[in-house]
Symmetry: C2
């Protein structure tokens, strides 16, 4: 189970009812959050997301539209009496920003709060049923994308297939791992004659804020669904490069090169009331493009 | 001209569509803001308030529900290319919180930004047509209330009244100040035979977060309209005292003792969906009580 719910799809200045960046990813274990722009805790309420189930928050970079809502969310969780641990992953200075504000307001959190400073690309979180890795993107300041991968599910024992054989249940775990069965007389029964494949492990990449960068392609190659920013329409490619952002067609090109199944686009400039043009332009390059709509959940 | 527009009327946790504390005061000169909870910049857009006209922002205290929206508002004003100066008044540590975040995001403001640390009760701002004073309130941390007073308007020259006399226009300013006219022959013409009184200078007090405190009464005595928090209904008076907050009836008692004409109540606990009870309870003590409704403008 991997799904993405959009809380905010706009760039820096909120506009036309659109909010700054934030997404909730639903996994089989819990909820995780990618970025937390101002008002994210209000969007969480608007969309009836169980905030108590959020265990991990990942902040891509320290431009305000990606983290100004974090301190308010943490404060509210504290006031609500949360007790489960909560982890935040982000650029190192975020720790100081959070701690300074809690210190000044005499706030002590009732839950265990752990801050993980992101220092290099690699594995950030190894949960029961998924992992989260980070990778650098090219923006005006230090910026990280996040890649969540479901773990490969064990193969399913098929009792009908097993019926002709007399196999000890103690061997089931090895069958689930895909091993063949070796009978006492040395006969080998191929694993796929005994088990079925489980649902495919899915993956989702949140590519944060980034200039058009083909170095992302090998990192997100074959990932099922990606989110890539499209701050500007195609005609403003020069401005996009100058501001270290991307256009609709650039985002679509990355998804095409990376062989993704699906592309979500967002981080629209506040200058544009009609965001339909971003979708149309991207679809010319990569048909499976959709606007990341606030309040909508996309099943990976 | 003095009017108050409510952006947020809830206490710490946003709930039932209610937002944390923020108010815009419209004066004859410009707009000023009292507190700036998370999402205030979005409320400003929702209610079509001209953010470029806000010149002064006053922060009562450093509990997050009163200032977490400030950094986002300042960032958006910067991105929008504001050039007029902007002043923020608040407890001293707020400066560090703002500067740290701008420094980390490499933000340089395109407008002149001045931070005034509030250190003692008294005059904070002396504008053309109004003043703003601060006064301490009793809360869990350092907290300030704000009192805005229109300046007394000059008396209006009445040309009909002046007709019988031959008065040099050079004397008009002294007449507007209320001085009598002394003719060349020593005759004294009383000022009110020559001029009319202007509209009464109005006043409004924002009493921030506070426990029930009769020491506020002399400070806000005879002020036309006050806002007083009512975090809890009357039955929770003990909890209110313990949390350094007030109840509906306590707020109303302050307005009654201070001889105010009108009371706005807000900062409702997130535990209460129906806030009508707060109004009914307060009105039993002080009839001219109204809920400070988000999006509503109250003319003082």
């Amino acid at each position: 189970m991997l799904a993405v719910t959009i809380l905010g799809n706009n760039s820096a200045i909120p506009a036309y009812g659109r909010h700054p960046t934030s997404q909730i990813v639903t996994t089989s274990d819990d909820l995780i959050m990618f970025d937390c722009g101002e008002g994210s805790q209000i969007q969480i309420m608007n969309f009836k997301i169980k905030r108590s189930r959020i265990n991990h928050i990942f902040i891509s970079h320290l431009h305000g539209d990606h983290y100004f809502g974090l301190i308010g969310l943490l404060s509210s969780l504290a006031l609500l009496g949360r007790i489960q641990p909560l982890s935040v992953y982000g650029p190192a200075p975020l720790k100081e920003i959070i701690e300074l504000q809690f210190q000044i307001s005499n706030t002590s959190l009732p839950f265990q709060f752990t801050f993980h400073a992101i220092e290099e690309a690699g594995l950030l979180l190894d949960a029961k049923n998924y992992t989260v890795e980070c990778f650098p993107t090219k923006h005006r300041i230090e910026c990280w994308g996040f890649l969540v991968r479901e773990k490969k599910q064990p193969r399913k024992i098929n009792m009908d297939k097993l019926a002709p054989y007399d196999i000890d249940t103690a061997l089931f775990p090895s069958l689930q791992k895909g091993e063949d069965y070796v009978a006492a007389d040395g006969t080998v029964i191929k694993n796929d004659l005994l088990t079925d494949a489980n649902t495919k492990a899915k993956s989702y990449a949140f590519c944060a804020d980034t200039v058009y960068d083909e170095e992302l392609v090998p990192i997100i190659k074959d990932v099922d669904m990606i989110y890539h920013e499209t701050t500007y329409p195609a005609v403003l490619a020069e401005k996009a490069t100058e501001r270290h952002h991307s256009t609709s067609k650039q985002a679509a090109t990355i998804a095409l090169l990376a062989n993704n199944s699906r592309l979500l686009i967002g981080h629209f400039s506040a200058k544009f009331e009609d965001i339909g043009q971003f979708e149309r332009e991207a679809q010319e390059v990569f048909a499976a493009t959709e606007i990341a709509r606030e309040g909508t959940t996309y099943l990976v």
